[in-house]
């Protein structure tokens, strides 16, 4: 039972960083949603803000890690000119070519929107901190950006999983 170097990087890109991203998103979503005056005590604010800051920062760092390893480490192996590369295999068969022409083409680009939005969310939380409790409008805006960051990552992640199933990078 062992993994090749490429499989290890695929796991780091898709599963390790993906899991941290998901955890950060889930924690950030719950804490940001509950960050309302009526639901908080003074102790609760301190606890929740600490968790929120850690969560959204971890989410942003994981998002950057995912796109950087995906673009600069895994993607070159995927697109090698060799006939046994994942891209070559997908394009060689008309039944699977759309996985590259649509799936990979969209995934490789749209994934980059996620870290940009996640960074903005982290910036807002770190900059405004407790003030977010009073400013309902800013809190809702931050929630929307957090969900958008997740949605773009989910699109990229789903296509990544499907493409890996059809033509894994080996």
């Amino acid at each position: 039972m062992s993994f090749t170097n490429r499989e290890v990087w695929g796991l780091i890109h898709g599963m390790v960083l993906g899991a941290v991203f998901l955890l950060g998103f889930a924690g950030g979503l719950a804490d940001l949603y509950g960050l309302r005056t009526a639901l908080l005590t003074g102790t609760g604010v301190v606890e929740r803000m600490r968790r929120l800051k850690v969560g959204v920062t971890a989410m942003a760092v994981a998002a950057w890690g995912t796109v950087i390893t995906g673009t600069w480490v895994v993607y070159p192996w995927y697109r090698e000119a060799a006939p046994d590369s994942a891209k070559s295999k997908l394009l060689a068969n008309p039944d699977t070519s759309d996985w590259h022409k649509f799936g990979m083409e969209w995934k490789e680009h749209i994934a980059w929107l996620s870290p940009i939005l996640a960074t903005v969310v982290a910036f807002i939380v770190l900059y405004y901190a407790n003030t977010l409790i009073r400013h309902e409008r800013v809190r809702r805006t931050t929630l929307l950006l957090l969900v958008l960051a997740f949605a773009f990552a989910a699109i990229a992640g789903a296509f990544g999983a499907f493409i890996t199933k059809v033509a894994p990078v080996q």
Binding site: T43, W106, L117, I133, R134
Partner: protein
């Protein structure tokens, strides 16, 4: 009351939840909303830039070749690095302009959502492949 409950109660007494905002959404001593608006709009600019670079690279081989900053990664290397540069530069510029202003985030969000929409359109294969040379 246990020792833990007592210390929690003391913390509650010492750190009360901040007072509600005034009708205009501001409270004395709050940090201005301008830097938040700047960050939100800059994210939209970055997204739109990614869509633009993606479509331009598809439409022009010259642009695609120029964006190929790394042979193994291909034009995606230039597209993503240029996007990050445009995003960060626009963030710095907008932050400088808005840093002391009460620029409303609602308006910034509307602008950003339009720009993000354009970015998604520009990176959507069915759209950008329309511009591929015959």
């Amino acid at each position: 009351m246990s020792q833990h409950e007592e210390s929690a109660q003391r913390a509650d007494d010492q750190q009360s939840v901040p007072a509600p905002a005034a009708a205009d959404g501001t409270v004395d001593g709050d940090r201005p909303e301008g830097p938040i608006s700047a960050a939100i709009i800059a994210a939209g600019v970055g997204a739109a830039a990614l869509g633009l670079f993606t479509t331009l690279a598809e439409a022009s081989k010259g642009v695609a070749d120029w964006l190929q900053w790394n042979d193994q990664v291909g034009p995606l290397s230039g597209k993503t690095i240029m996007t990050v540069i445009v995003w960060l530069v626009s963030w710095v510029v907008l932050h400088t302009v808005f840093r002391t202003k009460e620029q409303e985030t609602a308006r910034a969000l509307t602008v950003a959502l339009v720009l993000i929409g354009l970015g998604v359109l520009g990176t959507f294969p069915t759209f950008f492949q329309l511009f591929a040379p015959e």
